[in-house]
């Protein structure tokens, strides 16, 4: 079938994908209609509440997590046996699945999970009424969704990107690629990147400008600190990617030859990509560090050990993250001097990270530890991440890296830090903040089963990859020969991957089970919390704090518990102009405009692109003109009255 000059072949896998998409959509529509939830959906897509936007981030991230996880299952099945032919997933199809897995997991799973948690927890922790610009918060979220949908759609619309999540040129330009894969990657990541930059601006402004009275910089909880530093990294790293993707778009669609062709420079892409790509690694790990600091301190019932060194080491990691990118390019041949400098800076990062690891351990030491599921994930994180960190230092040794480069050793390393760090952190954060998000707790017994199966499955999957990598198995290949001696390692990996998939299903089951039971519904402070996020009702209400809470200590709630009855003191200041945004559909429509622009660029239909631009600009103007009508203004007294009315 021909679709906007693009051939779509209905092979068995595409048909299966199409059928499953239709079945899922129809099932969703029927369920929502039967449960009479259309009103809920309508209010959800227009929401300006930072908690609901955070939930949407995480929900969409979870959908993409399932898709990318399915890709992982397909890959592991294909790799289970030597010379195996599973369905169609060989050659280019394997590359497509592998690229989608990587791109989705990093940009559309890890990032939204963590940004979602930031959205939920940061305003509560710093005593802000909402994120600084709720409208842009919502817009960022929908842009991320659009980007993710573009990447997901590509599989059934003429071929997914197949050049790896790094999309190296010259592979990603010119006639070598099949279909529009790279264009989908380009626009999908670009659109969600715009949203991510907006989120980072929003977060930094919130944390700098909307802290409760009394909260100096050294009284900011560690999760908020991590959100601040992450946002700064996003602010300076993502625009580099935007520029690189812009050039890639021009190379692919408008005939420029900057990255390739006779006279271009392919190494420039690598520089630009990794100048973004390495900070990106810390963008997805620092918020996880913040989650662990919060969780470990809460469940060890102790103040975090070495708070200021924790902050400083995060700042150091953030700073160093911008000067290590060459370590992804040791084998390019930039010369011994460049390689040595970047080897040293790369190894340096182990120092602040080590400080953090020891501080977590010392926080646990002497505390009365409660082994909840959130804590279990945090404890599992420490050794897993240390393994990942050590293999990272091994690869920072330049001569050794020539051996590890592009082997499964690298795959093992990156999954140890991404899964062992980021995904453990995300799950830990979900279990920890679930009551703040939804008002009920996740069942701890199922949670522990889920955590243990996930942790064991994780090590089963990725530990053997170190060994297969050292045996010389190259990454991004779809099979191996029986005489390579790789079968055992790969088979164990595949079994571990299935165990992890089972664990994810267990998590979904836990969500439904706990929702039915609604154990400990509405408990504001189930964990005996220490920071201000546990001082508001569960789930947190959108309009709150007519008078802002006063911050006296880093662990403000704990301070109130120790020096009083556990209620926070509030400021007496009567505020004259409290802005609360009314719900609006414009962010969703605007993201639709971006979708139209992307669609036109991907399929090279200028008319659609122009229409998209016009629509987007008109919507922006419309928003600007109706701004005064789209906000509610309160004074403190009026807000108090409004909250009282809502409670009734």
């Amino acid at each position: 079938m021909s679709f906007f000059n693009t051939q779509i072949k209905f092979a068995s896998d595409i048909v299966a994908a199409n059928i499953s998409i239709i079945v899922i959509l129809v099932a969703a529509v029927i369920y929502i209609s039967l449960a009479k939830k259309w009103k809920v959906i309508w209010s959800l897509i227009r929401t300006m509440d930072h908690r609901k936007i955070g939930i949407l981030y995480i929900a969409w991230g979870f959908i993409f997590f399932l898709r990318a996880g399915l890709d992982a299952m397909l890959m592991r099945t294909q790799l289970a046996f030597p010379n195996f032919h599973f369905w169609v997933f060989q050659g280019d199809k394997y590359d497509q699945v592998m690229t989608t897995h990587g791109t989705l997991m990093i940009f559309f799973v890890a990032m939204p999970f963590l940004i979602g948690l930031m959205n939920i927890a940061v305003p509560l922790q710093i005593g802000a009424r909402d994120i600084a610009f709720p409208f842009f918060n919502s817009l960022s979220m929908w842009l991320f969704v659009i980007g993710g949908l573009l990447i997901n759609m590509s599989f059934v619309m003429g071929g997914a990107p197949s050049t790896g999540w790094t999309s190296y040129v010259p592979l990603a330009v010119g006639k070598d690629i099949v279909g529009n894969g790279t264009a989908f990657y380009d626009m999908g990541v670009q659109v969600s990147g715009i949203g991510t930059i907006m989120t980072s601006i929003n977060m930094i402004t919130t944390i700098l400008k909307h802290r409760a009275p009394g909260m100096g910089f050294m009284k900011i909880p560690l999760f908020t600190w991590s959100a601040l530093i992450t946002s700064i990294l996003i602010l300076f790293a993502f625009p580099v990617l935007s520029a690189a993707l812009l050039i890639l778009l021009f190379d692919n669609q408008f005939g420029t030859q900057i990255f390739s062709g006779e006279h271009g420079n392919p190494v420039l892409w690598q520089h630009l990509f990794w100048a973004f790509g390495h900070p990106e690694v810390y963008i997805v790990i620092l918020p996880a560090f913040g989650v662990f600091s919060q969780v470990i301190s809460t469940f060890a019932s102790k103040r975090i050990f070495g708070y200021s060194s924790m902050v400083l080491s995060m700042l150091a990691i953030g700073f160093l993250s911008f000067m290590v990118w060459i370590h992804h390019m040791f084998t390019v041949g930039l010369g011994a001097f460049a390689n040595v400098v970047f080897a040293i800076t790369s190894m340096l990062i182990a120092v602040p990270t080590g400080i953090k690891i020891f501080n977590w351990l010392f926080t646990i030491r002497g505390g009365s530890v409660r082994f909840t599921t959130a804590m279990l994930y945090s404890l599992a994180f420490i050794p897993s991440f240390v393994i990942g960190g050590v293999t990272g230092v091994m690869q920072a040794v330049v001569p050794a890296d020539y051996q590890y480069h592009d082997s499964y050793f690298v795959v093992a390393h990156l999954h140890y830090v991404m899964v062992g760090g980021t995904v453990f952190g995300a799950f830990s954060g979900f279990y920890y903040w679930w009551p703040k998000m939804f008002g009920y707790l996740l069942n701890d017994k199922i949670g522990k089963w889920q955590a243990w199966t996930f942790i064991i499955g994780f090590h089963m999957t990725f530990l053997p990859m170190h060994l297969s990598g050292l045996q010389g198995m190259p990454r991004r290949t779809f099979t191996y020969l029986p005489e390579d001696g790789l079968f055992e390692f790969n088979f164990i990996s595949t079994m571990g991957a299935y165990l992890m998939a089972f664990s994810v299903l267990l998590f979904i089951w836990n969500v439904f089970y706990s929702y039915q039971k609604k154990e400990r519904w509405g408990v504001a402070d189930p964990w005996d919390g220490r920071t201000m996020d546990w001082a508001v009702p569960s789930p947190s209400s959108h309009i709150r704090w007519p008078y802002l809470p006063v911050v006296r200590d880093l662990e403000n709630l704990w301070y109130a518990k120790e020096h009083g009855d556990g209620t926070l003191p509030f400021s007496q200041k009567e505020e004259k102009r409290i802005v609360v945004e009314k719900p609006t559909i414009i962010p969703l429509l605007l993201s639709g405009g971006f979708f139209t622009i992307s669609f036109g660029l991907i399929f090279a239909v200028p008319l659609i692109t122009v229409a998209g631009f016009m629509g987007t600009l008109l919507l922006m103007a419309w928003r600007s003109i109706t701004y005064e009508r789209s906000i509610d203004l309160y004074t403190s007294a009026q807000l108090e009255e409004a909250i009282r009315r809502e409670e009734e």
């Binding site: 400008k209 050039i247 021009f250 030859q257 630009l272 004259k576 003109i625 005064e628």
Partner: protein, 201 residues
């Protein structure tokens, strides 16, 4: 302009309202600066990837770019006047200076389009050589920013015309000022590093 708007315009309210916007705009400018920085870097990497195209010395017509530079830089001044007249609530003058700024920007953009069309007429198309591509990307992106600024000014014209000197309009002016002065300063770098420096490379 009754009593109520006077209360709204108290210094404290203005500061409270504008301060997060200012922060956010400066952060946005940081992001923009990184994008332009990456494209400048790309330009300098591509400086010797000429293919069969011209080098910077024959390609850039320095003298033809002086007039547009003067137009764009003076638009920063007229915008400053627009902002100041809004503060003292001289609505007519504010509208005049916004219009003048937009006209200057439009003049700049037209001259740049003429330059682009001339280049294309000379056979220096987008894909001629990586060097020329990187030039078009950098200058073209800046041109898009100017165009966006003109559209933004049209919108501000409507806002000032209908609402006058309100708190929200002050906020809008704060945001646009930062944007516009940034767009101008990027042009200074383009003018110096591409057109002026190009004469000596």
């Amino acid at each position: 302009m009754g009593v109520e708007s006077n209360v709204e315009n108290s210094t404290e309210t203005l500061l409270e309202y504008s301060s997060p916007r200012k922060t956010a705009m400066f952060l946005f400018i940081c992001a923009e600066a990184v994008i332009f920085g990456s494209l400048f870097a790309t330009y300098f990497v591509m400086l010797h990837h000429l293919g069969d195209g011209p080098g910077p010395k024959e390609f850039f017509k320095f003298k033809e770019m002086i007039l547009p530079t003067i137009l764009l830089l003076s638009s920063s001044l007229t915008w400053y006047l627009a902002e100041k007249t809004l503060h003292v609530r001289e609505k007519g003058k504010t509208l005049f200076f916004i219009g003048l700024t937009a006209l200057l920007a439009l003049g700049f953009l037209s001259l740049e389009m003429i330059e682009f069309l001339k280049n294309i007429g000379d056979g220096y198309t987008l894909g001629r050589s990586p060097f020329i591509s990187s030039y078009y990307l950098l200058v073209g992106l800046h041109g898009c920013h100017v165009l966006f600024g003109i559209l933004w000014m049209a919108l501000l014209l409507v806002h000032v015309k209908t609402k006058g000197s309100t708190v929200a309009n002050h906020g809008r002016f704060v945001s646009f000022s930062i944007y516009w002065h940034f767009v101008d300063s990027v042009w200074v770098f383009i003018f110096l590093l591409l057109y002026a420096l190009g004469q000596f490379l």
